[in-house]
């Protein structure tokens, strides 16, 4: 008695990646379903919360993809290491640009002009290289972001490029966008103010379908993933801290800002009403109440 494919997929989409790959050897139909059936991929992604995966960095470079799964027969959650050669591009110095909806975006060899960007799907064990614009001599800094436009099922890569055309001219920053599978080349979305301090990737601050990054202590810039509108947002009124001490994050679908400049405490601001400067509310954490061995680390707000 055969189970219909849909029922089969309901069952298979609840397995861990390792089990799914083992099941590909069962028969040709399963091989096809588990490799390329869009219904399967969809079902799997909607259950992603069951098996979160983490990328492990060793010596500052992404090395392993680990899937966490609960095992009823063991009291502790057990990690399964996914074979690195199969699930990640075989590269040297990889860092993570971002991840959404089951895809991860990786950056290789950032500090060279020949750096490359890859998009990877750990479920299918596949990756491809993204075509980047030609490197220009006047580029002095590039940062990348990765986001997903839910309504259209589109993935977009963002590229903030800072150029200095001449030694005596100020730096100019522009935002470029590339919609995966749609755009033939990168599109320039417009000039943005040059951020004070930016690393190789935008922190994943996505609130309500809008990507945010810090320009300086008085303004935050945002990119609406759907409309591609770029516009500023106010930081907490009166904030004067250098942006080196500030970190932007998303918590509970609200924009948050942490200020680590004080020696005694950490300020965490939360924008209760999106876009309203007066709605920034401050919370204070005494550093003494934080465990000694992590107190001096850079405070990164994040979700567990």
């Amino acid at each position: 008695m055969d189970l219909p494919s849909v029922a089969m997929l309901e069952i298979l989409s609840r397995l861990s990646i390792k089990s799914i790959f083992r099941c590909k050897t069962v028969c040709k139909l399963w091989y096809r379903l588990l490799t390329s059936d869009p219904l399967f991929v969809n079902m799997y992604h909607t259950r992603l919360s069951n098996f979160p995966s983490i990328l492990l960095l060793i010596n500052g470079s992404v090395q392993l993809l680990v899937e966490l799964k609960a095992d009823d027969s063991h009291p502790l959650h057990r990690a399964i290491v996914l074979s690195p050669e199969f699930h990640l591009p075989p590269l040297e110095h990889m860092s993570l640009i971002g991840s959404c909806n089951g895809f991860i975006c990786l950056l290789n060899n950032y500090y060279t002009k020949n750096h490359s960007v890859y998009i990877n799907n750990p479920l299918l064990g596949e990756y491809f290289k993204v075509k980047l614009p030609e490197w220009e001599r006047n580029v002095c800094h590039v940062a990348y972001g990765f986001c997903f436009r839910k309504a259209f099922g589109q993935y977009k890569i963002l590229r903030l490029v800072i150029r200095k055309f001449r030694w005596d001219l100020p730096k100019v920053a522009e935002l470029e966008v590339y919609t995966v599978g749609v755009d033939k080349k990168w599109r320039n979305v417009g000039e943005v103010p040059c951020p004070d301090h930016l690393r190789e990737s935008f922190d994943n601050v996505n609130v309500n379908g809008v990507v945010h990054w810090l320009e300086n202590c008085t303004s935050i810039y945002s990119f609406n993933i759907g409309t591609e509108e770029v516009k500023p947002l106010p930081t907490p009124p009166g904030l004067k801290t250098a942006s080196w001490y500030l970190t932007l994050a998303e918590l509970g679908n609200c924009l948050c800002l942490s200020d680590n400049s004080h020696s005694q405490y950490v300020d965490i601001w939360r924008m209760k009403e999106y876009g309203v400067a007066e709605s920034w509310t401050k919370y204070c954490i005494l550093k003494d109440s934080i465990q000694l061995d992590i107190r001096n680390d850079r405070f990164d707000l994040g979700k567990w």
Partner: protein, 166 residues
Amino acid sequence: MASSSKTEQKKMLILKSSEEEEFEIEESIAVQSGTIKNMVEDDFTLIPLPNVDTETLIKIIKYMKKHGEKTKSNEKDIEEFDKEFVKKSFTELKELVLAANYLHITSLIDLLCQAFADRIKNKSVKAIREIFGIPNDFTPEEEAEVYEQHKWAHEEGKEHIDHSAY
């Protein structure tokens, strides 16, 4: 005025299995099944279920009755019931999945499919074929090639691979 205690007349339905056996059940409980709900909206009170045999129907009615009396206080109780409910042979589970699918009982489909996944996750490929009654249609060369592609997934290592089909 004489007060007559109004005993609510609970609407009852009759479910008929493929073997023509009939079972009475409260409508409010039976509508956990999307299929039955649709038929009730079309004014059926005798619901023929030609795709569900008696044994399976009895189990499903038991599930619906238990979940029909779900309140905030007996959540633990229902969890225990669910745990015991899925302790069945693969053959029984398969019948239940087919029936739950046909009857559109979302919570039951979820429960059964998760239980299935949990039971097969460490099974060997051979055992999985037996459980689902799937013949191996790979040629030995093809099978070896696919196996090589994902060798890491078949490695035993710390994970125990179960070769039994039960």
